[in-house]
């Protein structure tokens, strides 16, 4: 259990604390000689810190505040010394455009007062260097730095204010104050004790204003305040305090560390007063009882209230410190009360009470753990069946056993013709050519079918078919910002990820490796330091495009941190439905209602992604890409290109100057042709703006403007030889230079950015309501009991804060995603393999063993064949996660080879079909194959295959699609005329407006990813096949193809048409009926203008159109 481990952590810190005291005891005293704090050294910017900032011993001591009010209007304002202070909000990097990280009055629109640390050289008349602390008083608030002593002793304060001012003349002064007082307060205020004050005036020698204060007696919790106030004398407007350098060092001699607070006399009375109304006695909200230490350590529904020795992982401290508890405004704990609680926790919760280890109010119970999906898959023995001659593979045994229980069996094998079309469409998504069907039917080898499967698995089209399924789960789109009116912005280079996926399937990349690369490819290599990128490096970085598919709107500055987290949240939702088969989005705001997924687990999982999607060091989508050359090469290219740009600009400037000289010369020459007495007037009139001219001047301009207007062509002709030569040479140089410019491709990737942020639970999903701190981790329910919550260092890659990098993570990275990938691909993972094999099963049979592909939780459906699912999952993992092997396992089974036929009405009850239909009409037990409609892309690709127009070019940038107002989008004929006939996977994939034809056939609209497509039968589909230009055009192509293959005989044409479109011969009645139709239709077209062979061809096109519109073409038997 966890408590023992937490105990240890607590003990470790307690002993460490004692150890410090022991050192001083060793020195013969109970005090430290000297303790010293320097703001410059301890300042941390708001990206990683918190306000108040915390020192190394995690005891809050620095505060950044503003005064709560000012006196009078801005013009004559003077700050009121009433001790009313409020915390400054977070600022972020770059306040006011200065190289500054720190804290400012407002987050979105940084407004002084502010304080920050300079991050680059900065000069406002006063020179700042990186590391300097800059204060900026505001127009209506003063800026305040507060310091709270953690110790008692004798205090010495040294420091200086040094004001800098880049504008605003005389009022270049700030006033400063150093004073003492109690804890800051925004409501009550207090009267401070002034220790020192003065002015720092930029314009004078008193610019650097130094203070030194000695012999102050301090007790733990005492405050000192430093105030900078923009000065106004009432006669002029005060400046806004451009920047004051501030330095201060606090030194405490004979520092005494205060003893730990007593639970009985200090802590308990506080809890009684503030907390017990709701968390004690009769009422125990969130099952939390704060009356005894044992109960406090046990905690409530959200885990232990405190973690001994660790206030910053203690929920109680977190909630009271953030003011979220107690809920009433008036009941909030004061700063010193929070400090008291925090010190008590840090000291290891000392108490006279005897602690009884109580079982936690677990969020994940033993019952939860017993749910099938949360247990590791196990291979069970293949069941015995009666009808063994139908058993081809172990899969058949599992299915047949259940069928036989109900008195059912498999349907007969499908005809070879049906089987070959089924295999083609399933594996490569293209129908077989008539010759291929004929060859398979003629192939009498016993393993002809096995050979067929192997051949199809080798086809490069296999990856195009199965990659598409994975791209649905990933939510792949080529564009971004799709909801803007009509505009498509490509997500440049994301197509490389699409090609990566296709290639991975074609290469039969082991699925565990496939997942690992997509989640953490960048952490498998040290690409940052690479001299050049080899193919593997590029491929690994491209793989992380998996995590770059959600809608990201943050390219605009008004989208704040909420929108950044939206991207992280949606990525997590995509990941959890696609890979884990769990719906976790509700855990964003609260514990999952159906599954044992506490809100905390969501944020622990999110912490795995946060170093990359670092909302505090955010990369906008326009910047979040890598080059396909190494960073070093890219820097060199960028630098050289910039140099070329400069040189080209210089040359252009020179050319322009030459031409300007010529223009001036020409102008003077033409002016000289005018009568001398009007020359000056004309010149002057021309220089005036049209509306400034007098009537006389306007008349002059009207008369002579044409003469004096000099065109570019005029200049060209007026160039002398030398000028001409110079310009020509310069232009050549420019061209030569531009041709030297180099470019690189773009890889949409994900990699760690900045320092890993501190991760919190977001209370009620609100980004700004920080709940308890969390460490990166995985859902507790998916961990073996022994590893629960990563509390055991042995199995927890995140157990120690500094040891987060798995041993094989490369480069400067947190390794968190790699740890996640390793965890996902452990052989005992309850979900990863099950979820994937179930997906594959779904695509072969039209329904998963678990029907809800993206939800294996308790609100999803139960597996129809749990043992089979486990057998497949274990077998898959034990055989190297080979996807192609999985296809073979499934497709070689009798189950897969069955006929899909249902019984005729009135058929004898004794037949398989009839009894199946009555016992299991939904075919959950698979007594027959399901009849399945082709997916959108396959409908389109199959039409193109039949018509012979398919362009089989693989990979590369997507084919653009048009975006007409009526919505009937089409693929554009670029880069080649046959590009619109590429496979659908290569057409520009839009999030909301996929190609209209595909959309009508249920291509997913992906505001989020698509774990399972819908299958609709709408009237718009009927209209699209009957009336769309696409079908008309392809029918014509098909008609031409049939004429060529079949010759002029109508009967032969019908036969070939049926072979191409349906993969079979027509029946006698179909043949008769089709011939009649062709003749009638041709007859109907006969007119004076249309020649007979033309009418026959038109009829043939109609015939083709109807075959391609028919249900038989649209379905796989």
């Amino acid at each position: 259990m966890s408590n023992s481990c937490r105990h240890q952590t607590g003990m470790a810190l307690v002993s460490c604390f004692l150890c410090l005291q022991a050192v001083s005891l060793y020195a013969g005293d109970t005090v430290f000689d000297v303790k010293r704090w320097s703001l410059r050294e301890e300042f941390r910017g708001s990206d990683r810190g918190a306000n108040p900032l915390k020192d190394r011993e995690e005891e809050a001591i620095w505060y950044f505040l503003r005064t709560s009010n000012s006196d009078g209007p801005v013009e004559s304002r003077r700050w009121i010394h009433d001790g009313r202070y409020e915390l400054l909000a977070a600022g972020g990097n770059g306040l006011f455009g200065s190289p500054l990280e720190g804290w400012a009055y407002r987050i979105n629109e940084p407004l002084a007062p502010a304080i920050g640390r300079i991050t680059a050289d900065y000069d406002i008349g006063l020179h700042f260097e990186p590391g300097d602390i800059l204060l900026a008083p505001g127009p209506d608030h003063a800026v305040v730095v507060g310091w709270r002593s953690p110790v008692g002793g004798t205090l010495e304060i040294e420091g200086s204010f040094e004001h800098g001012q880049s504008c605003c003349g005389d009022n270049s002064r700030i006033r400063w104050f150093v004073e003492r007082g109690p804890a800051y307060s925004s409501s009550a205020g207090f009267t401070p004790t002034l220790l020192a004050s003065g002015d720092s005036d930029f314009g004078t020698s008193t610019r650097k204003s130094v203070f030194q204060i000695r012999n102050q007696v301090v007790r733990p919790g005492d405050f000192v305040y430093f105030i900078a106030d923009a000065y106004a004398d009432g006669t002029t407007t005060p400046h806004y305090g451009d920047g004051t350098r501030f330095e201060v060092t606090m030194t405490v001699r004979d520092a005494v560390v205060p003893p730990a607070p007593s639970f009985e006399t200090e802590i308990l009375p506080l809890l009684v007063a503030k907390c017990h109304d709701c968390h004690g006695g009769d009422v125990r909200e969130a099952r939390l009882d704060l009356r005894t230490l044992s109960e406090i350590l046990r905690g409530g529904e959200n885990g232990p209230a405190v973690v001994r020795g660790d206030p910053h992982n203690s929920l109680l401290i977190d909630l009271v410190a953030n003011g979220q508890m107690p809920p009433g405004e008036d009941d909030r704990l004061t700063e010193s009360e929070v400090s008291l609680l925090s010190r008590w926790v840090r000291a290891g919760t000392p108490s006279e009470q005897q602690v009884i280890a109580l079982p936690p109010h677990a969020q994940v119970t033993e019952t939860d753990r017993r749910y099938w999906a949360f247990q590791s898959p196990r291979r069970s023995a293949e069941p015995e069946v009666r009808n063994t001659d139908r058993v081809r593979t172990p899969i058949d045994r599992f299915l047949l056993a259940k069928l036989e229980e109900k008195g059912l069996g498999f349907s007969p094998d499908a005809d070879k013709g049906v089987l070959v079309r089924r295999a083609y469409l399933d594996l490569i998504g293209l129908p077989p050519e008539p010759a291929a069907v004929a060859a398979f039917i003629a192939d009498t080898r016993p393993d002809a079918y096995e050979q067929l499967i192997d051949e199809l698995l080798k086809s490069p089209h296999y990856g195009e078919r199965w990659g598409r399924h994975w791209l649905d789960a990933a939510g792949y789109v080529d564009g971004k910002l799709d909801n803007d009116l009509g505009t498509m912005y490509p997500n440049n280079g994301i197509w490389r990820y699409r090609d990566y996926v296709i290639q991975a399937f074609n290469d039969d990349m082991p699925f565990d490796r496939f997942l690992t690369e997509q989640i953490a490819g960048d952490e498998l290599i040290d690409w940052r330091q690479a001299e050049t990128f080899d193919a593997r490096t590029k491929s690994l970085l491209t793989a992380t495009g998996f995590l770059r598919n959600v809608d990201d709107h943050t390219d605009f500055p008004q989208y704040g941190i909420e929108k950044r987290y939206e991207v992280v949240n949606e990525t997590l939702d995509m990941f959890s439905t696609a890979v884990l088969g769990l719906t976790m989005e509700c855990c964003r705001c609260h514990n999952h209602k159906y599954d044992p997924l506490p809100q905390r687990d969501y944020y622990r999982l999110m912490a795995c992604f946060e170093p990359a999607f670092n909302p505090h060091a955010w990369k906008m989508p326009k910047d979040r890409y890598l080059a396909d050359v190494s960073p070093k090469e890219r820097a060199a290219i960028d630098q050289r290109n910039a140099e070329i740009d400069t040189e080209v600009a210089e040359l252009s400037k020179g050319e322009a100057m030459t031409r300007e000289q010529v223009r001036a010369r020409l102008y003077e020459m033409r002016l000289a042709t005018l009568p001398e007495k009007i020359r000056a007037d004309v010149k002057q009139s021309l220089e005036l703006a049209a509306d400034k001219r007098t009537e006389a001047q306007a008349a002059l301009v009207a008369t002579h403007e044409a003469t004096l207007r000099i065109s570019a062509a005029d200049i060209d002709t007026a160039l002398n030889d030398a000028e001409q030569e110079a310009l020509k040479k310069s232009a050549e140089q420019r061209t030569a230079l531009v041709s030297q410019k180099k470019s690189y491709g773009v890889i949409q990737a994900l990699w760690d950015v900045g320092e890993p942020p501190v991760s919190h639970v977001h209370r009620r999903g609100n980004v700004k309501a920080h709940g308890v701190l969390v460490q990166p981790g995985f859902p507790e329910i998916l961990q073996p009991v022994a590893n629960v919550g990563f509390r055991s260092a042995k199995v927890n890659p995140f157990a120690e804060r500094k040891a987060t990098i798995p041993s094989d993570a490369k480069g400067t990275t947190s390794g968190r995603r790699l740890a996640l990938a390793r965890w996902l691909t452990q052989p005992d993972h309850p979900l990863t393999a099950r979820v994937f094999v179930n997906r594959v099963w779904h695509h072969h049979f039209g329904r998963g063993i678990v029907e809800t592909l993206g939800n294996f939780g308790r609100s999803g459906s139960l597996p129809s064949h749990p043992e089979l699912l486990d057998w497949l999952a274990v077998d898959f993992m034990e055989h190297g996660w080979s996807v192609k092997r999985l296809h073979r396992q499934i497709m070689l089974s009798t189950a897969y080879r069955q006929s899909s036929r249902r019984p005729d009405r009135g058929e004898e009850q004794s037949t398989t079909a009839a009894s199946g239909e009555s016992v299991d009409p939904e075919n959950r037990l698979l007594w027959r194959m399901n009849l399945r409609r082709l997916e959108a892309e396959i409908v389109r690709d199959a039409v193109l295959t039949a018509s012979g127009a398919l362009d089989r070019t693989a990979g590369g940038p997507p084919i653009e699609i048009t975006n007409p107002a009526d919505g009937l989008s089409e693929a554009k004929p670029a880069p080649t005329p046959s590009s619109p006939n590429r496979r659908s996977i290569y057409l520009f994939a839009r999030r909301v407006y996929p190609l209209k034809f595909l959309e009508i056939f249920d291509a997913p609209i992906m505001p989020v990813n698509c774990t399972q497509r819908t299958n609709s039968a709408t009237v718009l589909q009927s209209l699209a096949v009957l009336n769309s230009e696409f079908l008309f055009a392809q029918s014509e192509n098909l008609a031409a193809r049939i004429s060529e293959m079949a010759g002029p005989e109508t009967e032969q044409r019908v036969k070939v048409g049926f072979q191409i479109v349906f993969g079979r011969q027509p029946t006698a009645s179909e043949l008769t009926r089709s011939i009649a139709f062709l003749n009638d239709q041709a007859q109907g077209y006969v007119s004076n203008e249309t020649p007979a062979d033309k009418t026959r061809q038109m009829a043939l096109a109609d015939f083709c159109h109807m075959l391609l519109s028919s249900n038989e073409f649209l379905y796989v038997e």
Partner: protein, 477 residues
Amino acid sequence: MHPTRRELLQSMGSGFGTLALAGLLDHAGLLSPARAAEASRGANPLAPQQRHFPGRAKAVIQLCQNGGPSQMDLFDHKPELSARSGQPHPEQVEVFQLGNRNVLLGTPFKFSKRGQSGMEFSELIPHLGTVADELCLIRSMFTDNNNHPFALNMLQTGKTFNGRPAMGSWIGYALGTENQDLPCYIVLRDPAGYNTSGKMVWSSGWLPPVYQGTEFSSSGTPVLHLNPARSVTADSQVRSRRYLQELNAIHLQQHPGETELEARIQNFELAARMQLTATQLLDLNTETEATRRLYGLDNPATAGYGTRCLMARRLVESGVRFVQVFPPLDPSFQPWDNHSNLKNDLRKICGYVDQPSAALITDLKQRGLLDDVIVMWTGEFGRLPITEGADGRDHNRHAFSTLMAGGGFKAGHIHGATDEFGYKSVENRVSVPDLHATILNQLGIDHTKLTFTHSGRPERLTDPEVTGARVVEEILS
């Protein structure tokens, strides 16, 4: 003599309905009751469904004013705002665009009392003023997000995020539709293009796609692919389709009991019927001159939106369940988004929208349809009382005004109020899910009982446990 094209299409539409479609629901028995209710729609998902209780209304027309109409310049007169125009707002208001000064901006438009009820309307909407006594004006709306796409999601789906079904889809799912020749949920937008968020605004989310809004074009062909892309003669078309139905019939014989194949065969017939119905229905030349003038079809400024409003009336009249109408895309694809140039641009969009909106209500009333049809006129949020630039207003999620009419909403009634400046709704606040719940209620649907199982969770439009949505009885007659 050759039959006319119309006769041929008619014969095609009804002539092949001989296939027995019995036994479609046989299979539902194996499912849980909730699932069975969902699955029973499988055969004909658009068949009229049982209501939870008798409803007041049958159909909804949503006049979707996207962009965020300014309540204090149209429906919510704020004398105090005008009196203190130019002074700072006493608190820091929540802005969307950075850099707004916190300075109040009074309305530049005159207000006057209209109708018996004495609602105060701005000079920009004189025509809506003439139907004031038919309107239920809710001044106390609020929403969850002050950015267009998210607030539009909220308005349409009840949540700010993407991927959930729109209200119209829920209503189609709940009630089916009364005209089997047309989709249940029809969208009429400016033929020039899409408004903000485009199709997301009428997506069926995870509801079956048959409930998704179907775009009807208000110019040219009303439905995508309604007519053949190439010219074909009517009789060749009839022969082709008859041949196709024969192929399909033979195929169905090989696959007896496959309901999806049967549905698809029916769809080819519906396609033929729609070709007629939709074309006839949207032929506005059959309307009287007076009606055409009422909607402003004689005026270029109002003709576009007026056409769509008139089409909306004709569609609900012929049994369509939910019609969503969008304003013209001028000056932008969110025409009510007056960040600047308020005086001119607001006048302009009102000039497009005012008359036809009022005409729709007048026309429905005259035809005795207003009791059966709910008209909803609203944007996704409102605007701020402070100024943006010299002459603009930024987004405001804390307050906006919504007009309801017909379907049992109280006529000539004002509900709720905002603060003295119109920044926040303060009295009798109505959330978007409250409004959804109330609309469903008027259609005879209990919003707590209308569920669809998605990923195992019984989802609802209003998600009442989270949103606390309730039927706002106070605005119902």
